[in-house]
């Protein structure tokens, strides 16, 4: 057996552009086949006479290969290298065969030739348009038990792999002067022209080689060469130019604002053994000054009864399989057409030795030139005839032909049927760019009309059919000039949209408009009869054009059938908007590097590793990882937190506070600026002191809080909440730049410059004293709320005397790189004295014991300083600050507002749930009047009871009152209290 026989009995010797000796083995549904390098899965299967490749979505009808390109709606297959490298819904007409590929059909059970779901075809009256909305309305229960499981199993297209994707994907940004989408005659000409001006050019094509329509069109000669050969030499010339980037196997999938273009490059999907270092796919994000759209046009199928059997395909597809892949799609082929172009498929096949059963042309007057050629080749042409039916279960066996308007039918035996209803310009990218289309009535097609961006359409997608005109247009679009001469053999005329003879409104036949979603002409008419008058409603009711092929073949037919039913001209019925992506793009391409650790990068403090080594459990706070608690052997979270809480109050604790936001506010007007941004007065704060500050928005609600230390007359060290740092800096910059630009102030984010180690508890001073140099930290010399620059272990430091626990406390700020060393020294001293490390959970409990709020937990953007019991922090003397006017709004000064109070459960062991609602009378009828909700709630080991904070309407006037927290299983009685649960006198802080 020769290599060419090996690679399929339908190979035609001397046809095609592949090398017979270069073979690749693959399996389809477990059976092994040989292909030639360069084959698509479709051409390789057709070479072996395999047409049946799948079952349709709704009716499970046997389906074959309809096209030879990315518009393929039928031949969607599962392609894998191994268990993890498996992708469903791959178009057989796009995927190149590689050695070792395992390919499987989809949507069939138990097998492709016998599929149980095929009963759906028999039951098709129940699956008519709108069946989703109607058939399964009742009874409700049946949805869960019956309909949904059946629909899910039967209707799902393909199966997603369950393993993690082992491949990696890349992403690139690029800029260029001209980006050309499509490397057919028009695109190549435009690229040669643009490149000649020295412009930076991107030429992009989705196929493995350039050439576009020249893949199938063997009759065009350019510059004296065969068209395809000319295309390859033009590509070689372009590739050699330093200002040209030529990308093949790359789809221009999106045309966005301001010349922003999305490209998906398939790097390894065609390779047998891709190198590990290669990304599988690459996302290109290109910003271009100009776009030349040279995307050509897509052939339409004919809409007639049973037009979906395996073996029925587009005429241009058959030409492509023959002229590019060297494969005949049958031995006895019929043609059904409304356009001259299909004749050329018959000519090519006939010359290759394939018998042509007949050309059935629904037109009375086809082009004279093609008719003459058909006659010369001895091909039977039936003009004014139509194909009204086909036969053959798993492959077409015959077509039924009738004279238009007549009733005598005759069956003609065929093993393949090629069809063409004409060509639809590919205006997808133009439409995505927000350009406006017009309807070309004489040719029944939508064409670019008004441009919204700097782009130009050339060639087929612009309705330019004449090749000389096309070249002129493309050359001009490139901005330079290039001399190319080309000639076609035949001029093409014809085309139709809508249902053909025998599939009209008076019939009930299955004439498919949308193959992927199994939408027939009848479905579209039904939608109109049921009251859908807009194409957008018809589309949704029938799902026509809503499959992953976005109706590349079906939209125009669907529109024409709807327009006919509505009795309105096509432009008035409208065209649905084309959306990106042009063809499906994998998640891997879009995600690129943003996965695993890079998906949402974690922020870690300088002491992260040390805390992890100490056994910390971490919690996520924004992007930060914060030590949550430090369990010792045998401790659960509860036990660990209780121990940490007790130890901090009895001896001391060390806590990583580095995540707090830090902003350095510097300049002669720094105090004045802070006066305007915070409710507090800052000009009265002396250098060396710090103060708790509240920031409100103009509306008077609390926005952020934190301690601000004044290091010098013109220098403040501002701290913010952990999550609030970026927005607080943005907010400050906004006011500084746009409202108070006269102030001389500079703002710098210093969050990550400082490692912050909080040391809290009665022995806090004893712990740090030996490490601090150049500063007297006695209570007298360095009282509560002092701040100073000093040195700690020889490292320049900022030391704060402050407390978020109510204990004697310090916060040691050292440059981030020194954090681990200083942390280690402090920790060693602390542990030697019996103190411990503690995490955010203990920090939360200890601050709640003292009634200190956490902005964002105890406040929610509708809480004023007064509501939070912090009116002492609002200056009464200032004449202006952000929020001063908002705080005077009637709703903010009225009585009965929700105020922050403490709650004590009557049973001290009950710990309330945060977020639980609070009512006055638990026996009132529902819906109950809610008084507020629990904002913070913990078990307090130090108080020996549960403690909680809550926002309660008129809360401060309810001290001692009993309120109720209704839960699902019971109601919990609580007493309203103040928020200080521990050390009410507050003496410990001054220890």
């Amino acid at each position: 057996m020769s290599a060419s026989e090996n690679s399929g009995g339908f190979r035609i010797k001397g046809a095609g552009r592949h090398t017979p000796a270069r073979t690749a083995r693959f399996t389809f549904d477990g059976k092994s086949y040989t292909a030639l390098e360069g084959d698509t899965v479709a051409s390789a299967l057709l070479a072996h006479g395999v047409h049946l490749v799948g079952r349709s979505f709704k009716y499970h009808r046997p389906r074959g290969i309809l096209t030879s390109g990315p518009e393929e709606p039928n031949a969607l297959l599962d392609v894998s290298r191994d268990a993890a490298r498996r992708q469903p819904n791959v178009r057989a007409t796009v995927q190149e065969v590689f050695d070792g590929a395992k390919i499987a059909s989809q949507n069939r059970w138990p097998s492709l030739t016998f599929d149980v779901g095929g009963f759906n075809d028999v039951l098709s009256p129940f699956f008519a348009a709108g069946f989703y909305y109607k058939t399964f309305m009742w009874p409700r229960e049946a949805w869960h038990r019956l309909y949904e499981p059946i629909i899910r199993r039967a209707a799902g297209l393909g199966e997603a792999p369950k393993e993690v994707d082992p491949d990696h994907y890349a992403s690139r940004f690029a800029h260029c002067d001209v980006l050309i989408a499509g490397a057919g005659v028009a695109g190549l000409t435009a690229a040669l022209s643009a490149a000649s001006t020295g412009a930076n050019v991107f030429l992009v094509d989705e196929q493995p080689e350039v050439g576009g329509a020249l893949h199938y069109d063997a009759a065009t000669t350019i510059d004296g060469q065969n068209g395809y050969d000319w295309a390859q030499s033009a590509a070689a010339r372009l590739k050699a130019m330093p200002n040209v980037t030529l990308l093949t196997r790359t789809t221009v999938f999106g045309y966005y604002n301001h010349g922003f273009i999305g490209l998906a490059e398939r790097v390894t999907d065609h390779m047998a053994r891709p190198g590990r270092d290669l990304p599988r796919e690459r996302l290109w994000q290109v910003r271009t000054k100009k776009v030349v759209i040279a995307t050509g046009s897509i052939e339409r199928h004919m809409v007639f009864a049973n037009n979906d059997r395996p073996g029925i395909m587009l005429a241009s597809a058959a030409r492509s399989f023959l002229n590019h892949h060297g494969v005949a799609v049958g031995r006895n082929v019929g043609v059904y057409t409304a356009h001259d172009s299909a004749y050329e498929a018959a000519f090519d096949l006939k010359r290759a030795g394939v018998s042509i059963a007949a050309i059935v042309d629904c037109r009375a007057d086809p082009g004279a030139a093609v008719l003459e050629e058909a006659r010369a080749l001895g091909i039977d042409v039936l003009t004014g005839h139509s194909v009204t039916d086909t036969a053959g279960r798993l492959r077409i066996k015959s077509m039924t032909v009738v004279r238009n308007g007549g009733s005598d039918t005759r069956k003609i035996k065929v093993d393949a049927l090629l069809m063409s209803a004409g060509w639809t310009p590919s205006v997808h990218l133009f439409s995505q760019s927000r350009g406006k289309l017009r309807f070309d009535d004489s040719n029944q097609r939508f064409l670019p009309d008004i441009y919204a961006q700097n782009c130009v359409s050339v060639g087929g997608c612009n309705g330019t059919d004449d090749i000389a005109e096309l070249i002129e247009e493309a050359s001009a679009a490139g901005g330079g000039s290039v001399s190319v001469t080309a000639a076609n053999r035949f001029e093409w005329t014809g085309g139709m949209i809508g249902a053909a003879e025998g599939a009209g409104p008076d019939t009930a036949v299955k004439a498919f408009v949308d193959f992927q979603h199994d939408v027939t002409a009848k479905d579209i008419r039904l939608a109109v009869r049921e009251g859908m008058h807009s194409i957008e409603h018809i589309k949704r009711f029938t799902t026509n054009g809503m499959a992953s092929d976005q109706g590349k073949l079906s939209n125009m037919h669907g529109l024409a059938i709807a327009a006919e039913m509505l009795g309105r001209p096509i432009p008035q019925v409208g065209l649905t908007t084309f959306r990106a992506p042009y063809t499906p793009v994998t998640y891997g391409t879009l995600v690129a590097h943003s996965r695993d650790d890079l998906f949402d990068p974690a922020r870690k403090t300088p002491m992260h590793a040390l805390q992890a080594a100490a056994g910390a459990e971490f919690e996520d706070v924004g992007n930060w990882k914060r030590a949550w608690y430090f369990p010792k052997r045998g401790e659960d979270m509860h036990a660990a937190v209780n121990r940490e809480c007790r130890t901090v109050r009895e001896i001391g604790g060390v806590f990583d506070a580095s995540t707090l936001g830090k902003i350095e506010v510097v300049g002669p007007d720094a105090a004045q600026f802070l006066n305007l941004l915070y409710t507090n007065a800052w000009d009265t704060l002396k250098p060396g002191k710090s103060r708790y500050g509240i920031m409100t928005r103009e509306d008077g609600f609390i926005y952020d809080d934190g301690v601000v230390g004044r290091l010098a007359e013109d220098r403040f060290h501002v701290t913010t909440t952990t999550g609030g740092a970026p927005r607080v800096l943005h907010h400050m910059e906004d006011y500084l730049q746009t409202e108070f630009p006269h102030l001389k102030v500079w703002l710098t984010s210093t969050t990550e410059q400082w490692a912050v180690i909080a040391v809290q508890g009665p022995k806090a001073r004893e712990i740090i004293a030996p490490l601090v140099e150049g500063l007297d930290i006695s209570n007298e010399a360095f009282p509560h709320m002092s701040v100073s620059e000093c040195s700690v272990m020889g490292v320049p430091a900022r030391l704060f005397r402050m407390s978020f626990t109510g204990e004697l406390g310090f916060e040691v700020n050292v440059p981030a790189d020194y954090g681990p060393a200083v942390w280690t020294a402090i920790r060693d001293r602390a542990e030697a004295l019996g103190a411990c490390l503690y995490g955010t959970e203990t920090m939360h409990v200890l601050r709640a014991e003292k009634g200190y709020i956490i902005v964002g937990q105890d406040t929610d953007g509708t809480v004023t300083p007064e509501d939070a019991g912090l009116s002492w922090a609002v200056s009464k003397k200032k004449t202006d600050f952000v929020g001063i006017r908002g705080l005077q709004r009637p709703d903010l000064v009225r009585g009965g507002r929700k105020q922050l109070v403490g709650l004590k459960t009557k049973d001290p062991r009950d710990v309330l749930e945060e977020g639980a609602q609070i009512v006055a009378d638990p026996n009132q009828p529902k819906p109950m009047t809610m008084l507020g909700h629990v904002t913070s709630s913990y078990w307090s080991e130090n108080c020996g009871r549960s403690i909680a904070m809550a926002l309660v309407a008129g809360g401060k006037a309810r001290m001692g009152e009993t309120l109720y927290v209704p839960m699902a299983d019971r109601t919990i009685a609580v007493e309203v209290s103040d928020m200080v649960f521990f050390d009410k006198e507050g003496g410990r802080i001054n220890g």
Binding site: D699, H730, E733, Q737, T738, P741, D880, R885
Partner: protein
């Protein structure tokens, strides 16, 4: 993704580098504590949200950090001009304005296409 001209950097940069910052030319009242509730509502709560030509603020947050003003057509997303913060509202060049209005009539928007279906 939009391409935005930063008037401080004097360069066209990708939208990724910017953050939108609301309607432009809303000045904080001088003696804010003395204004009426209605004036406060006008200043703080009410926005025009106009279709078509709109003046808005952007910040080159991942660049120079500066706030600036922009005149943008919300239908075509075309920036008609950008200018520095603090400058008064700039008139849009007439030619651009006409182009912007022409686009408003011709560009397919959700309202113009899908909206018709309702």
């Amino acid at each position: 993704m939009l391409l935005i001209h930063c008037p401080y950097c004097e360069d066209d940069r990708s939208e990724l580098e910017f953050r939108w910052a609301g309607e432009a030319h809303i000045a904080r009242p001088e003696a804010i504590s003395e204004i009426s509730d209605e004036e406060f509502a006008e200043y703080f709560f009410l926005r025009n949200n106009e279709k078509g030509l709109t003046y808005e603020r952007w910040r080159h947050i991942h660049g120079c950090g500066r706030f600036f003003n922009a005149a943008r057509d919300t239908v075509s997303d075309r920036f008609l001009m950008t200018y520095k913060a603090g400058l008064p509202k700039q008139p849009v060049p007439v030619a651009d304005k006409m182009a912007a209005t022409a686009e408003e009539k011709t560009v397919e928007t959700w309202e113009a296409t899908e909206g018709d279906a309702r």
